[in-house]
């Protein structure tokens, strides 16, 4: 559908297409810092998380909005890596669910001290990742000033307002999910599937993407329409149809 006016040879003959999720995560060592796109169901790299569960790397630091598991049905999430004993620390915007009546599977691991967590406001989390990708080592933000999260930390008054110093959050690996990709790794997201995925991709040394639609040749995506440029993406894997591949499902509401 999109029209391309590119010309000449592809920028690289070396496709970034990887045949399986297992192969895509095989080299991830113990101790890695891994970021996960996704907000609620859309954009979560379910299949890569499943492969990482099977891969078994340990002492991981996970970065993402939430550890998951408050909603049913439950697809692979960061919390499962915790339950599987692979995780040292989680950096996220929720260590407990939004509604006090919900229980995140992760919470008990955190409360017992088995797994560490760093609780970060969602916008600060997104900005710290963006900063890491954009070479900004630190920045000031009004968020969390005057709260427990700012206790003992450096603040600065600028134009009469107090701001909190925050540092970039670089990743070793990012797992993302996109709708469309070409073999060079250019990505397009559909609707709110985008969320954290583009900033995770820029913050990581190695970005691995699982892709909904058949992966196309470089040149098939209009350069103006790319959400994440291929230079930020290192491996792309095609999500197979269900049940082999894991896809977003309709959420079961508890109250109707």
């Amino acid at each position: 559908m999109v029209q391309s006016t590119t010309r000449g040879e592809e920028m690289t003959q070396k496709s970034k297409l990887v045949a399986s999720f297992a192969e895509a995560v095989r080299d991830i060592p113990d101790g890695s810092v891994i970021g996960f796109g996704g907000f609620a169901m859309p954009g979560v790299p379910f299949n890569l998380i499943k492969a990482l569960l099977e891969h078994g790397a340990k002492q991981l630091t996970l970065v993402g909005n939430t550890t998951g598991g408050a909603q049913q049905p439950r697809n692979p999430d960061m919390g499962m890596l915790v339950e599987n004993g692979q995780v040292k620390k989680v950096i996220c915007a929720f260590t407990a669910a939004t509604r006090p009546t919900d229980v995140l599977p992760f919470t008990k691991y955190y409360e017992s001290g088995e797994v560490d967590a760093e609780l970060v406001p969602q916008g600060t989390l997104a900005e710290r990742l963006r900063a890491a990708g954009a070479g900004i080592p630190a920045f000031y933000t009004p968020t969390a000033v005057g709260t427990e999260l700012a206790a003992g930390r450096e603040t600065r008054v600028i134009n009469g307002r107090e701001y909190l110093l925050e540092y970039a959050l670089p990743l070793d690996y990012a797992f993302v999910r996109a709708t469309r990709a070409d073999t060079f790794g250019n990505l397009l997201f559909h609707r709110s599937q985008r969320n954290f995925n583009p900033v995770m991709a820029t913050a990581a040394r190695v970005t691995i993407a699982e892709i909904d639609e058949p992966i196309v040749a470089a040149g098939e995506i209009d350069p103006d329409m790319v959400h994440t440029p291929g230079i930020f993406v290192h491996r792309v894997v095609q999500v197979p149809p269900p049940p082999e591949g894991i896809w977003p499902s309709r959420r079961q509401e508890r109250r109707r």
């Binding site: 907000f39 609620a40 169901m41 859309p42 954009g43 909005n65 909603q71 915007a93 929720f94 260590t95 407990a96 669910a97 939004t98 509604r99 006090p100 919470t107 955190y110 409360e111 967590a117 609780l119 970060v120 406001p121 969602q122 916008g123 600060t124 997104a126 900005e127 990742l129 963006r130 933000t141 009004p142 968020t143 969390a144 000033v145 005057g146 709260t147 427990e148 999260l149 709708t179 997201f189 559909h190 609707r191 709110s192 599937q193 985008r194 969320n195 954290f196 995925n197 583009p198 900033v199 959400h227 896809w247 977003p248 499902s249 309709r250 959420r251």
Partner: protein, 224 residues
């Protein structure tokens, strides 16, 4: 919901939503605030923003027509209105921190008369659930809080000082409860409107800081 006095949850949301002005960009938190989008506010156009980068979402998607890659901040499958745009999470919080949100509506455990509020951490809890609340609270032009006037055990939620960890300080501009509509004044709460079936003494007894009462106290307005 243990306290059934006064307004229903939808009415509390309605009263807050009636404050929205034409062309406002509004962010609705999970829980009661999401009900604001059901309120009939006539021909005023509101642009709903959600933290995950959706600018201009509309009604909940009809069953069977959901786009599973399109949710609001509460994870519900919504629709988009013509003119909508999608951005990534860092840009979405750029919209918030950049001061482009005219009003954010959130739930809370407590609000103080100094405009502080608490909604991310329970007493004695390790960690909590912040989400986008601290960003929204610190940066939106107006912070509206909707909450039950008292706790399940009858304690006031409108207090002199929050004893729960705060989400932000001095930011709340309007409070809609089942007992009425309030504004923090610094020393107390100005009651702007009172819920039907409640007396001023009922409200005073259930509020943890002095009430500032106007000469003529109207009932809560629920229709435009």
């Amino acid at each position: 919901m243990s306290d059934t006095k006064g307004l229903t949850r939808q009415q509390m949301a309605d009263r807050a939503a009636l404050e929205f002005q034409d062309g406002w960009i509004v962010n609705l938190g999970v829980g009661i605030p999401t009900l604001c989008s059901n309120t009939d506010i006539g021909d005023r156009d509101i642009i709903y923003h959600s933290e995950n980068g959706v600018i201009g979402y509309g009604a909940i998607a009809p069953e069977g027509e959901e786009d599973l890659n399109l949710v609001n901040a509460g994870g519900q499958n919504v629709t988009l209105r013509p003119g909508a745009a999608v951005v990534h999470h860092a840009d979405s919080f750029g919209v918030i921190r950049g001061g482009h949100i005219d009003a954010t509506v959130m739930g809370a455990y407590q609000v103080s008369c100094g405009g502080d509020f608490a909604n991310w951490k329970l007493k004695g809890q390790k960690g909590g659930g912040i989400g986008g609340a601290m960003d929204l609270a610190a940066c939106a032009k107006r912070v509206f809080i909707i909450l039950e006037h008292v706790t399940r055990d009858g304690s006031p939620r409108l207090v002199r000082a929050c004893d729960l960890p705060v989400t932000a300080r001095g930011v709340v501009t309007l409070i809609s409860t089942n007992y009425g509509l309030f504004e923090p004044t610094g020393d107390g709460f100005r009651i702007r409107e009172i819920a039907p079936g409640l007396t001023l003494e009922d409200v005073r007894a259930a509020t943890g800081a002095p009430l500032v009462v106007p000469d003529n106290l109207p009932m809560v307005r629920l229709a435009r």
